[in-house]
């Protein structure tokens, strides 16, 4: 895919993809460093090596489509409008984070930006996104819902119940799997006895696509086509993106159980380097690439500064907001 040309994409689009890829990696690298310095709270969950799935798919959606991201989908949040400031403030438990200190790490969402908030039990967002799609279908709204999840989540009942419900009701929903080959320490071969997560989706009657998740143009193009088909009333579609989790489950985990050769093989397929190579082949000027990188560095540092200067909650707010008024 990456050698070819994606119809309809100009250099502004390509630079936009590049910006979100770089911004995702830049923010997460910064958070990893903060974690090592003991400057953040709780765990540290990143999607290093998987940025193309999240960014490429979100860039292929319409503004009113609703996404239900998982914990390695920072890129999709950013594309949908979450700011670097909000992300950093969230990680540091500040009042300016999207949950005002009520929840941490990547556990946020925002319906104004059409994002369903992620929660820790894997696959829980799948039925919820299915319900979003149900609302669209009932109200005859032309939007789609997108649920993101990993290979591990595909073993949970909520994955199966959500896919099946979407299939029998023919709902406008796209399922996007990051098959990153490990669920914490468990390899995909111990997760399922079929070769592909997509095989599970086929059992529910969903059309499936299996693509290279490290190729942003493949992700973009496949999502674009699937979204159009779904919007046309074709029912749900399942895309499995093959990729590799390049770090531990979270930063406390050194992932020593992952064979080094496997990591080395995938390091050579890094989605950002791969896309840079493509951009250079397309003769996107080097100074434009460097300008994107400089912008990202600046935004990441500004976000950290913003977060560290933001107030922490006082404490009594812990009691507020349990119920809607």
């Amino acid at each position: 895919m990456i050698e070819g040309t994606v119809v309809g994409l100009g250099s502004a689009d390509l630079l936009r993809f590049y910006y979100y890829l770089r911004l995702t990696r830049g923010l997460e690298d910064r958070v990893i460093k903060l974690y090592r310095q003991g400057r953040i709270l709780g765990g540290c969950y990143v999607g290093t090596g998987e940025e193309a799935i999240s960014v490429g798919s979100a860039c292929a959606l319409e503004p009113d489509d609703v996404i239900a991201p998982s914990h390695r989908d920072l890129g999709a949040h950013l594309v949908k409008g979450v700011t670097p400031n909000e992300y950093m403030a969230q990680y540091l438990g500040r009042l300016t984070g999207l949950t005002r200190g009520k929840d941490g790490t990547i556990h946020f969402g925002d319906l104004r930006r059409r994002i369903i908030g992620f929660i820790s039990p894997m696959a829980d967002g799948i039925p919820v996104a299915t319900g979003v799609a149900l609302a669209f279908k009932t109200r005859r709204e032309p939007h789609i819902a997108v649920a993101y999840f990993g290979d591990g989540a595909s073993s949970r009942g909520d994955f199966h119940e959500g896919l099946n419900l979407a299939a029998v009701l023919r709902l406008p929903i796209l399922f996007i799997c990051h098959n990153n080959q490990y669920a914490y320490s468990v390899p995909v071969s111990r997760q399922m006895a079929v070769p592909h997560v997509a095989d599970r989706a086929k059992a529910y009657g969903l059309p499936t696509r299996i693509i290279d998740g490290n190729d942003i143009l493949a992700v973009y193009q496949t999502t674009k086509e699937a979204a159009a088909q779904i919007r046309g009333g074709g029912g749900p579609i399942f895309i499995e993106c093959k990729t590799m989790r390049m770090r531990g489950h979270a930063e406390h985990d050194d992932a020593s159980y992952v064979p080094r050769e496997l990591l080395e093989e995938w390091r050579g397929r890094d989605p950002i380097q791969k896309f840079e190579h493509y951009l250079r082949e397309r003769e996107v000027p080097e100074d434009q690439l460097r300008a994107v990188e400089a912008r990202v560095v600046k935004e990441v540092e500004e976000a950290l500064d913003f977060a560290e200067k933001s107030p922490l909650p006082d404490g009594p707010e812990a009691l507020e907001g349990v119920f809607a008024p």
Partner: protein, 324 residues
């Protein structure tokens, strides 16, 4: 005022709310063509169409999750959990996704889960449970349990109009064994308000659900012996109306708490603790509980009769309390 059954009251509440607000819709197993396991939604599919009366696959977690998603989009889903026992299959979506959502993100989840619960129909350990305590213990959920047709209709309407997730426990025995007057006009019973169903100066009997009927019978028998029981129907288990409970206890000085759910960590334990903390010096006797024992609900009629609290057992406890 017309007298209707508890079942009819629930049916009317659903019908009227769906008629008034097109965002209200139903999800659940066998609720469409079949009209629901208890026939509450009979005729709804014909009236409201398959977009608003959705027969789901057997997948409690899946359809509760879907209801949450639709609620986040501003719709008003009402889920029928065919038997409250099966709510365990959706527990994660309820307590982790729905209950915590507003707290984390300030986005309301206007969801109602109707859960037909309770025993006395000899339906065994998986069709008779009273799992209300599971949800009372989870911050972010409102939990109601009406005892009369009037309350059943008014509380269901209030639950559907509430912007929060509400677990609505409707007692299966009451469906056809409770009749009462229900006004024809639109009304609600506000969530979070207990109701003094019978006034009395001697003993406060605090209960809810199907035990309200048993409590009435017991109170009448006690009255013949000259003991006047004040019967407080809690109605909403969370938020609990402690004011009404404490006011009654201050007046009578003696308390019997009755519920059909098992005793350990049940709502009775919470009510007893609130009374002990707040009005201890008004008490003339220890707070007493009468509940089901800590076993699964048995199937065979003599076993279930032995298991469940009833008017006779309530009278025995009240008699002890009266002579304390």
């Amino acid at each position: 005022m017309p007298e209707i059954t508890y079942l009819e009251a629930i049916r009317q509440a659903l019908w009227e709310e769906m008629d008034q607000n097109e965002q209200v819709f139903l999800l659940g197993e066998d609720i469409g063509t079949y009209g629901g396991a208890f026939k509450i939604t009979k005729g709804f599919l014909e009236k409201f169409g398959e977009d608003r009366v959705i027969d789901t696959p057997l997948s409690e977690s899946g359809f509760v999750g879907a209801a949450i998603g639709a609620a986040l989009m501003g719709m008003r889903p009402v889920v029928e959990m065919q038997f409250a026992d099966f709510i365990s299959c959706a527990f994660d979506q309820i307590v982790n996704m729905a209950a915590k959502h507003h707290y984390r993100l300030r986005e309301p989840v206007p969801l109602v889960i109707r859960a037909p619960y309770g025993g006395r129909l000899h339906a065994g350990p998986f069709h008779s449970q009273c799992p209300e305590a599971w949800f009372i213990h989870s911050p972010g959920l409102k939990v109601v349990a009406p005892a009369t047709p009037y309350d059943a209709k008014g509380l269901l309407k209030a639950s559907i109009r509430d912007p929060n997730p509400v677990i609505y426990f409707e007692h299966k025995y009451l469906y056809r064994h409770a009749k009462g007057e229900v006004p024809p006009e639109d009304y609600i019973v506000p969530l979070g308000q207990a109701d003094v169903k019978r006034a009395g100066a001697d003993i406060s009997l605090i209960t809810y659900g199907a035990m309200v009927q048993q409590a009435f019978q017991a109170a009448d028998q006690m009255s013949e012996q000259g003991v006047e029981v004040e019967l407080v129907d809690v109605r909403t288990l969370y938020p609990l109306d402690t004011d009404t409970i404490l006011t009654s206890v201050k007046k009578t000085g003696k308390v019997l708490i009755v519920h059909e759910a098992p005793q350990v960590c049940g709502i009775g334990a919470e009510i007893a603790a609130v009374i002990a903390e707040d009005v201890f010096r008004y008490l003339d006797a220890p707070v007493v509980r009468l509940t089901a024992p800590h076993t699964p609900v048995p199937f065979s009629p003599p076993l279930e009769d032995y298991y469940l609290p009833n008017a006779t057992k309530i009278v025995a406890k009240l008699t002890d309390l009266a002579s304390y």
